[in-house]
Amino acid sequence: MTATSAPATATVTAPRAGSAGGTRRRLDSLTIGLAIVGLFVSAALLAPVLTPYRAFELAGRPIEPPSVEFPLGTNGVGNDILTQVVLGARSSLLIALLAGLGTLVVGATVGLVSGWRGGALDVVLMRFTDIVLALPRLPLLILMGVYLGPTLVNTALVISLVFWPPSARIVRSQVLSIRGRAHLRASVGFGAGTWFSLKRHVVPEVGLILIASLIASAGRAVMLEAGLAFLGLGDPSRVSWGRILRDALDFQALFFTDAWSWWLVPPIVALSLFLLGLTLVGIGFEQRANPRLSRHSEETGR
């Protein structure tokens, strides 16, 4: 049933008539997304230029309101908040990259092998996927994080180990659908081997889906990392947007002053904007991978 397999990341654009409008709008979602993500990448790279302070440097007095010296003010112990927000982008980008790739590698491998080999191996792998899917992921992440030690790499590792099943399922179903197509059978009929078939037919078809899946995993990882830091379970040596929030909420007098307005708002905006950027990029790729999603089936005269 086609309706049920519609992914949650969805058609932003479903133009009613004509495809010209669709192309333009689709370009928009990808371009805007890339622009937003690009903004954060440059901020993370240019951090030393953008701010003279270090993350936990006592740069000024506690809870100083925004000024020329501290454009976003200082926090409860006198760290510069702009510095923390800019450096927080590094944590988020790093986790996005590490955990996104990790999830993708595990998921794509399981999905590819399962879909391509089929048979008993497919059954076993899919049952295993079902089991992992049924695990309570967030509590498990918290527990494993505590046991393994709260470093960013460990967090990325645990996320990769727990959150791969959706990617595996998507890749598998895509591989299965390609396997069923005649051009692949034809290629096998010409004597093509596994590697040739994979290279020529499967990977190019799955490519865009993989990218969309990577983006989705990256976004989820960013959210999880921020969440863990927000719970106080993040990497203690790193600044993270979640941790800025945590520190703010832990500050007893937060709501007795105006400090919340410069302390809470920047990390929330940064986090949400970055995630929105990733979402838009993901939507852009998904629509490219599956143009059917964005165009309503046109009725032709029969």
């Binding site: 049952r127 899917l133 527990l143 999880l224 969440g227 719970l231 379970l233």
Partner: protein, 351 residues
């Protein structure tokens, strides 16, 4: 936690577990077996994780920061409870036996039976998530269907943009924003706990009102967090339905728009959507950790965090068993319902 449901939806949206096995009874047996395996894997993970690390598992628990709560007496009691002097296989069997008989032991950090603690917290979380899922489900259903019906219109595009944005904001951020708004800007609602501390209620209605007032913010934060992905899911499935030929037949039959929209387009998206909601309910116990934390709501989420913080091992074991059991019960119920309601859809629908 807004992302978790999305991942869960993956499974619901595909098909219930083990649908390939033929026959209704056989199918359900297969599903049950799978759930039992799942719960077994999780419980084993909780057992082996601390033991896989070098050193005494109790040392892993004995973080210097929290070591203060550990007296020599408590340590002895723990060692006896876990039979740490025995071979690991024997420990494992003993552990599984305790889990099977629901003998969870005594919480060190809270000095209370673990079962009492869990029983006191579980209903609040279920209430919180039950309400949030119901609201999010109902709202996304109605708005998503309407938006799909008017696909391409200004209102549709506006809604899609709004929900895409909402989807990008983590629920703890939403909760924090709500906290700021209602703690500072318009302090009309309680922002912490599940009821007013030291309150003396004159009537059950007053008590109920107080509980509801405390529920509003956490439920709102969870609902908003859940809405985004659900709205898009509903909208997409309904749009998928709209292109189907049966929609043209519905129109040809001269049916009013309301019937076309909700009965014909909507009904097709309803079953997978309900399945998704059911599966998400399975993750309810672990799903509200962030929001409970922000609003210091006394539910399972904050209990999990406390247990992790204090390394309260007996409590953790019990919590994970409950987590797994909820997933199992919810999934099994979903599979039952699905098997019951599924009208051989796959046979009747074109690929």
């Amino acid at each position: 936690m807004a992302r978790q449901p999305e991942a869960a939806g993956e499974r619901a949206a595909g098909a219930p577990l083990g649908r390939s096995s033929g026959g209704r009874v056989g199918h359900l047996t297969g599903v049950a077996a799978l759930h039992v395996v799942t719960i077994f894997v999780l419980v084993s993970l909780v057992f082996f994780l601390p033991r896989a690390l070098p050193g005494d598992p109790l040392n892993a628990l004995l973080d210097p920061e929290v070591g203060g709560t550990f007296t020599a007496e408590a340590r002895a009691e723990l060692e006896a409870h876990y039979q740490l002097d025995r071979p690991i296989g024997e420990q494992y069997v003993g552990y599984l036996g305790r889990m099977l008989t629901l003998d969870f032991g005594w919480s060190i950090s809270r000095q209370s039976p673990v079962s009492t603690l869990v029983a006191a917290r579980l209903p609040w979380t279920l209430l919180l998530m039950g309400l949030a899922l119901s609201f999010a489900g109902a709202i996304s259903w109605i708005v998503g269907t309407t938006s799909a019906w008017r696909r391409g219109s200004k209102s549709d595009r506006g809604l899609v943009a709004a929900f895409t944005l909402a989807r990008s904001v983590p629920d703890f951020a939403i909760a924090t924003v709500l906290l700021v708004v209602f703690a500072v800007l318009v302090p009309v609602l309680p922002v912490a706990g599940n009821r007013t501390v030291f309150a003396q209620y004159t009537s059950i209605w007053q008590e109920l009102g107080d509980v509801i007032a405390h529920l509003i913010l956490p439920v709102s934060a969870l609902t908003i967090g859940l809405l985004g992905s659900k709205f898009l899911l509903v909208r997409n499935s309904v749009i998928g339905s709209l292109g189907q030929e049966y929609m043209m037949l519905a129109r040809a039959k001269g049916l009013p728009t309301r019937i076309q929209k909700y009965r014909h387009a909507g009904r097709n998206a309803l079953l997978p959507f309900l399945t998704l909601l059911g599966v998400q309910f399975g993750f309810a116990v672990g799903g509200s950790i962030f929001v409970e934390e922000v609003f210091t709501y006394p539910g399972m989420g904050t209990l999990i965090l406390d247990a992790v913080d204090t390394r309260d091992y007996p409590l953790l074991e019990a919590l994970f068993l409950v987590l797994a059991a909820t997933v199992l019960v919810a999934n099994f119920a979903v599979d039952l319902i699905y098997t019951w309601l599924d009208p051989g859809v796959s046979a009747g629908t074109p690929s």
